[in-house]
């Protein structure tokens, strides 16, 4: 009975010791074993089941993944003395866990070191450049234009991208190149640092709004004035076209009528002027026609007995025949 109890107790104790000396390293972790606070052996980077001495050795978990550093929104000045708020972020990784463990021990102190180094490098880089260099990236880019934005191009600096020498990517690269070696001393590899947000200081923003409003009102006035100008031009066109049309028509009408009269005159003259007899006959018949037209109504006709019609009133023989 006592034997059995002992064997059970022995088995339990053995199991316990086994459990305490076994530990798992997860896929995302690496481990440094310390003995009374002193690191023992190489860091364990292989995930899986591992052994240690129970009680005396301790497992220190260190993350293997890319970790975040999210910088606070910091107000800083650019080279052209504009105050802007800059929010940066970085991704980093512990590539030398031993170095990291010795110098920083945990992630909290790592974050504060990152804050020191990245924050100050960002400030330095931003202060060395003008605002537009931080805002823009691609120095070759030309803005797209359509009819409506092309109209803006004439108004102040609207529709125009301010020129740059370096651009944001280059500034980010400067920060990266300055910070990476400093972080390497802590066993940290910097993957990337980027500007997440960038905003005007609220006081500057007010002025920016004022400028935007005045620019827009300028455009509005320009549109209205263009409209009125174009309308006036169309009115002018209307007057010109109408005058042109009417006078051209008048000219044509006069030409046609003149031509018609000339032609008629020519026809008449041609017929009446064939010879002296025809001219004579024409004068005679036309006189007769004319009498028909003018005598009548209120007219009083005084005829002499000397006329051909009444000559017979005085003598039988026609006079002078």
């Amino acid at each position: 009975m006592k034997n059995r109890f002992l064997s059970i107790a022995g088995a339990v104790a053995l199991g316990l010791i086994l459990l305490l000396s076994l530990f798992t390293v997860r896929q995302t972790e690496q481990v440094i074993i310390t003995q009374f606070g002193r690191p023992i052996g190489d860091p364990i980077t292989e995930p899986g089941l591992h052994f240690k001495l129970p009680f005396v050795q301790q497992v220190n978990l260190i993350d293997k993944r890319y970790l975040a550093w999210d910088g606070p929104m910091v107000e800083m000045s650019t080279k052209d003395k504009t105050y802007i708020q800059v929010d940066t972020f970085a991704r980093w990784r512990i590539t030398d866990p031993m170095q990291y463990f010795l110098r920083l021990r945990d992630e909290r102190s790592a974050q504060s070191r990152l804050e020191d180094i990245l924050g100050s490098e960002t400030r330095t880089a931003v202060a060395r450049h003008e605002l537009i260099e931080v805002v823009r990236t691609d120095k070759l880019r030309k803005p797209l234009q359509d009819e409506s934005t092309a109209l803006l191009a004439g108004v102040g600096a609207l529709g125009v991208l301010r020129p740059i020498q370096h651009g944001r990517t280059e500034i980010e690269k400067n920060i990266f190149e300055a910070a990476a070696p400093k972080l390497a001393e802590f066993g940290i590899e910097l993957l990337d640092i980027r500007i997440k947000r960038l905003n005007y200081n609220p006081e500057v923003l007010e002025r920016i709004y004022q400028r935007m409003i005045s620019e827009r009102l300028q455009i509005a006035q320009r549109f209205r004035s263009e409209g009125e100008g174009e309308a006036a031009r169309i009115h002018g066109n209307k007057d010109r076209d109408i005058n042109e049309i009417e006078s051209t028509a008048y000219k044509r009408v006069q030409e046609i009528r003149g031509e018609a009269d000339a032609k008629a005159t020519e026809i008449y003259a041609g017929a009446y002027n064939q010879n002296s007899q025809s001219a004579d006959f024409y004068r005679f018949t036309k006189s007769m026609d004319t009498y028909r037209k003018i005598i009548g109504g209120e007219a009083t006709v005084v005829l002499s007995t000397n006329s051909d019609l009444f000559s017979l009133l005085k003598r039988i023989e026609p006079k002078g025949r």
Binding site: T24, V25, Q27, T28, P47, G48, R65, Y66, L67, L131, R136, T137, P143, L144, D146, T149, A157, V160, L161, R168, D192, R194, I195, K196, L198, I208, Y209, M212, R216, L217, A220, F223, R224, E226, G227, E228, R233, I234, K238, D241, T248, A249, V253, I256, A260, D261, I267, Y268, A271, Y272, Q277, T285, M288, Y291, I295, G297, V302, L303, S304, L309
Partner: protein
Amino acid sequence: MSSPNPWSQHMPSAKPWPIGSILLVLFALSGLFTAYYTIPAESTGVLLRFGRHLHNVPAGLHFKLPFGIDEVIKVPTERQLKLEFGIKRTAESITNPDQLGADPLKERSMVTGDLNAALVEWVVQYRITEPEIYLFEVRDPGLTLRDLSESVMREIIGDRTVDEIITIGRQEIEDTNLTRLRELANRYHLGVMVNQVQLKNVDPPVPVQPSFNEVNRAQQDRENAINLANGEYNKAVPRARGEADQAIRGAEGYRFKRINEASGDVAAFNAVLTEYLKAPEVTRTRIYLETLGEVLPGAKQSIVVDESVQQILPMLPLPSSLTGAAK
């Protein structure tokens, strides 16, 4: 000392159940319960043994080693996941973690390449394509994608004018953003595929919006003024053209009339002339007399005066005294 535990009451009566066997059965049962798992259709399982990644398992019922030796993480690989930026939303409409940012107002406020300000709202759609990379390479991959998307969007907006972003540049911004974000997601080992970047509301800052509307109104006013002027032009000019044509047609009619009449007159004259030439004296006399015969009765008065009378005019104002001489 009655314990509420039914096992302690059972044990004394059930002698053939020694403590060892009961523990064994419990052990076996708990092993059985932790030895199977199901992966839902929209997910992929990532199997870990002692924390080490073994392989991925597709959807369905599967078995594993019990007692926490094997661990399975389910990753929704078929689900379309969404990140929203600058959009205010209530908690109910959230479909996946990381969908909303901490401060939408700050997310949407941006500086443009002509140093103006703009408010940009957008949505990123993505899917987890490599679950083991998604799980093991980066801590908080969703947040990392958020940071990247914000950074890329500002980079792009920073290279464009405010008018470009608000009007014509939208499609181009979405395309550029998608390309760059895909590139970065790869470089950052996120294990995700970005499917879409969609711009939502893109506006000028609130205090500036009325002046942008004013520009639109002015543009409409301009079109309106031009349209009205064109209307007046179109009302007057075609009509003037028609009237001009009318006048010309009238003149052409006059020409026909004049020429035809002349030709007719001439034809008549020539016909009569031919006959006249055969007997001029008689014809002449006949026409003369006929004409006077027609004409004189139409006159109010006809006075025949002897050829020796020289002064007839003084008598004319007294027609009543001359009635005897009237015809």
